[in-house]
């Protein structure tokens, strides 16, 4: 039997290291584009202050990026280390986007990041600008392939189980790339990254403005952040809605759990604004808005949304046909030429994963009792209340940031950037919120998919490596200690860099006269950059 303690510790370790890694990724995504925008303005206008801004944000970017690289390699190793059966079972599909991520994206990003820092005096202005854009592009391509991989775990298209090799194998690679879940997740996730970058720049600029330091640089940075942030906040919410809509098609259970919708509601279903879901299949006290739930999830007035209890009943049927698939698979493994068994397997294989849910209760799942099937079907419901609440936190923050950036954008376009001290302080204190929203989002995506590691195909507990508890205790302790120390150091260093403020750089671009012009620039709305962004 599978050691469930090892499975739980493996899950904790993966969750901890993935969520930790994702502290740094969104900032990389957002900040790299904002640096590229600022440097573009520098190259177009020749104004030194924009280069100064690029360099200042670049220093903070560099510290963050180092943490991203350090924790990213852990992710690549951990699939094999802690999830070896997963790696075997779906590596034929899942490995490809990861490898292509290396080929197409990470190589680009990691090669040019060095030139970003070391190439200022060795490249022409335009040459360096190209390097900065390529770095940003690399980071975003990287997100694309990682989300293609993750999207496949949510909606495993373009693949089929091969009884001869005992694993899922690719049948249609284009379906994997153009997986609607992956596409929706990609745009939602990078938008969240842009939002994070914008909040980061805006919050630190607000700090400078409150203190009356580096005012010209902070004003310009705030303008870029306000416009970039508004676009990002709008797209993160709109695309998040798209992501939810796509999930309704492919992961109904996740949606039902997010909404704590136990019973099937007549269309259009209400939407619960606030509520206290219990684990007993009942909703406690709640406030609902009529119709909204049905509209968000199905975008129709007539389509019915099944509740959790109905989905559990459906799962029982799928487990029963999963047993049929499993038995046929045993027959094929015993005798590869058994065409009858192959015919049965071809019909029932999509439910094989449901059959495997029984492995938690017995090895010989063909002899499963009715009670065990009922228990396994109940396992298909993820824990409801954490999902219900994190979803509302994430959504609330999304709407909050639309309002926040709309206000900032309006004020920036009127030239009222540093006039309202309470707003500046408030902006500084919103700094942690994008991370709260983003980590909530990943929690919903991954925890909401439980008990599956690959939706409907492979249960999480069945995918873990056969490690010992000691292995896991050692590695988990190691990660907790090292990661805690590193994040403290990182924050201290960032604070030091922010306190020291932007520096006047002494080097010049290759082959360019030092165009040290106007550090003192007139009122902001007159600068070409803001005109362009504002129009």
């Amino acid at each position: 039997m599978i050691d469930m303690l090892v499975v739980d510790l493996s899950r904790w370790q993966f969750a901890a290291t993935a969520m930790y890694h994702f502290i740094f990724v969104p900032l990389t995504l957002g900040l790299s584009f904002m640096m590229a925008i600022m440097e573009s303005v520098y190259v177009m206008t020749g104004r030194q202050i924009w280069r100064k801004a690029t360099l200042f944000w670049g220093t903070l970017f560099g510290i963050n990026f180092a943490m991203g690289v350090a924790t990213g390699i852990v992710m690549e190793f951990q699939f094999g280390m802690n999830w070896s059966y997963y790696s075997h079972y779906v590596g034929d599909i899942f490995g490809a986007p990861l490898a292509i991520e290396g080929l197409m994206a990470f190589f680009l990003e990691a090669t040019f990041i060095g030139l970003f820092f070391f190439g200022w005096d060795r490249l022409s202005k335009v040459g360096h600008l190209v390097v900065t854009w390529l770095t940003a592009l690399g980071a975003n391509f990287s997100a694309l392939w990682i989300l293609v991989a993750n999207g496949w775990m949510q909606n495993p298209v373009g693949a089929k189980f091969n009884p001869d090799t005992m694993r899922m194998e690719i049948t249609d690679f284009m379906a994997v790339i153009f997986n609607p879940v992956a596409q929706a997740k990609f745009v939602h996730t990078v938008s969240a990254g842009y939002l994070t970058g914008a909040v980061f720049v805006l919050a630190i600029s607000a700090l400078f403005l409150v203190k009356g330091k580096h005012v010209e640089l902070a004003k310009r940075s705030a303008v870029v952040a306000a416009s970039f942030g508004l676009a990002a906040a709008l797209s993160v919410v709109v695309l998040g809605d798209e992501s939810g809509y796509v999930a309704t098609e492919h992961q109904i259970m996740k949606i039902a759990a997010l909404e704590a919708m136990y019973e099937t509601e007549p269309a259009p279903a209400p939407w619960t604004l606030i509520g206290f879901p219990g684990e007993n299949g009942q909703m406690g006290f709640h406030i609902s808005v009529p119709w909204v739930g049905g509209l968000i999830t199905t975008r129709s007035f007539t389509e019915e949304l099944p509740g959790i209890n109905e989905l559990v009943e459906r799962a029982q049927d799928r487990i029963r046909s999963g047993i049929v698939a499993y038995n046929a698979l045993q027959d094929i493994r015993a005798d590869g030429s058994n065409q009858e068994a192959r015919a049965v397997f071809d019909e029932y294989w999509p439910d094989l994963g449901y059959g495997l849910l029984l492995k938690k209760y017995r090895v010989d799942i063909e002899n499963a009792t009715d009670e065990e099937i009922v228990m396994a079907a109940a396992d298909t419901v993820p824990s409801v209340w954490p999902l219900f609440w994190t979803f509302r936190i994430m959504m609330g923050l999304g709407f909050f940031y639309i309002a926040f950036f709309a206000l900032w954008f309006y004020r920036a376009s009127r030239g009222w950037i540093d006039t309202n001290k309470p707003l500046l302080w408030f902006s500084l204190f919103t700094l942690p919120l994008p991370w709260v929203a983003i980590e909530s989002g990943w929690f919903i995506a991954e925890f909401g998919r439980q008990p599956w590691v690959v939706e409907g195909v492979l249960p999480t507990f069945y995918a873990a490596s056969g490690l010992t508890v000691l292995d896991l205790v050692l590695s988990l302790t190691f990660f907790v200690l090292l990661y805690s120390v590193l994040i403290v150091i990182m924050v201290i260093l960032m604070v030091r860099v922010i306190k020291a403020g932007p520096k006047d750089q002494i080097f010049t671009s290759k082959g360019q006269p030092d165009d040290d012009d106007d550090f003192v620039i007139a009122a902001l709305p007159a600068t070409p950059a803001t005109k362009e962004r504002g129009s």
């Binding site: 990026f65 070896s84 080929l103 690719i170």
Partner: protein, 381 residues
């Protein structure tokens, strides 16, 4: 599958080669940074000297490390069972490598941000660990591959690994670790000699010469050891186009079995010859001040030594000591025909582009690094 223009056997062979290219690519490109890391506290004594060394590798090390990331990704995509068995089986060894690889990026970035000498010295040692430990442990891992790993598979391809961390530290495996460390240090030394001047270059030259000579001796000792050690030989007929099933073959342990390939295909002798010749020429280049000869020769040595290991165990990737027929070979541990083909297309498109832009970046960043560079660039490490 008739629409795939290359047959399964050819694709498996191509991916065996490509994996070799990626791992050798990492050992040469990333290896120079590991070697410099391992030499950091010794070749450079003052803070300025250490900064010079860090700025030799600083602009390009991140790109170089992607060869390893890509190697890992390629193993996952092209040989999933190999990825699953090796990464989970060598679990704690992998954790040690991860420690080293986590320390590197933060070490580079964090070290220069604070002036305190204790802070800098602490990160110098972190960067030393980041270079020394992977170079050693990856070699120890290769040694264990030649010895065979204690794992078995059940009928569902679930993996059972029965060894522990300390069993990895067998004498032969440690010898392999030292060969790996020696070749990486030699290589790092040739880079330092090529890109710095004065006292650092002098010290690195001395370390490089000794490391090169030591590696020649250790590599020779390893060859002799292998001749008396048990190798794994497949005794059943392999269908190189069949769906993967490691358990379908039979395997025997034969003394000196790892040398069989050289009897069957005498051209393979070229690999160890390149290993020895590369090391010898690197030592010659270092002692006679021929910087490029030294650097290119140590690169050749890495190519030769890793190829020797790969060719000796061909067609194995990872033999099993406790259930020999479960050992993984390129024929029974690969991805599906279609995945191998798709990955080949992706590689043919992107690898040449990578080589082009990496070459360009290296050209931009070429030249000797001196104390001047440190003051000119405020981003310098």
């Amino acid at each position: 599958m008739s629409t795939i223009p290359l047959d399964y056997e050819t694709l498996r062979l191509i991916w065996w080669l490509l994996l070799g290219v990626l791992l050798i690519g990492f050992a040469i490109m990333g290896g120079r940074d590991l070697g410099v890391g391992a030499l950091l506290p010794f070749a450079a004594r003052t803070d300025e000297e250490r900064r010079i060394l860090l700025n030799v590798i600083g602009p390009t090390w991140e790109g170089n490390q992607v060869w390893l990331v890509l190697g890992g990704g390629a193993i996952f995509a092209a040989f999933p069972p190999l990825y699953a068995v090796s990464f989970s089986g060598f679990y704690l060894a992998m954790m040690v490598i991860l420690l080293a690889l986590i320390l590197r990026p933060v070490g580079f970035k964090f070290r220069g941000k604070v002036e305190d000498p204790r802070w800098r010295s602490a990160w110098d040692w972190a960067l030393f660990i980041g270079g020394f430990v992977p170079a050693l442990i990856m070699g120890v891992a290769v040694g264990n591959v030649l010895l065979g790993a204690p794992f078995h598979l059940d009928d569902t391809m679930r993996i059972f690994y029965t060894g522990n961390f300390f069993q990895l530290l067998m004498p032969f495996a440690l010898l392999a670790g030292l060969v790996s460390l020696g070749m990486i240090v030699t290589h790092g030394a040739t880079l330092i000699v090529g890109r710095t001047e004065g006292a650092i270059a002098e010290r690195a030259r001395t370390y490089g010469i000794w490391a090169g000579l030591g590696t020649i001796a250790l590599f020779a000792l390893g060859g002799a050891w292998v001749a008396f050690m048990n190798g794994y030989v497949i005794t059943s007929v392999i269908d190189p186009n069949a769906p993967i099933n490691p358990l379908s073959k039979s395997v025997e342990l034969v003394q000196g079995g790892w040398l069989n390939n050289y009897r069957l295909y005498p051209w393979m002798i070229a690999a160890p010859v390149l290993g020895f010749a590369g090391l010898a020429l690197a030592v010659f280049g270092l002692s006679s001040g021929r910087k490029w000869l030294a650097y290119l020769s140590s690169s050749t040595a890495i190519f030769g030594i890793i190829s020797t290991a790969g060719l000796s165990i061909f067609p194995f990737f990872l033999p099993s000591s406790t259930m020999p027929n479960a050992g993984l070979t390129l024929w029974d541990a690969s991805s599906s025909h279609l995945t191998l083909f798709i990955m080949l297309i992706a590689t043919l498109i992107f690898l040449p582009i990578i080589v082009l832009y990496t070459g360009w970046v290296f050209r931009v960043m070429r030249g000797t690094v001196t104390g001047d560079n440190l003051t000119k660039n405020p981003n310098a490490y």
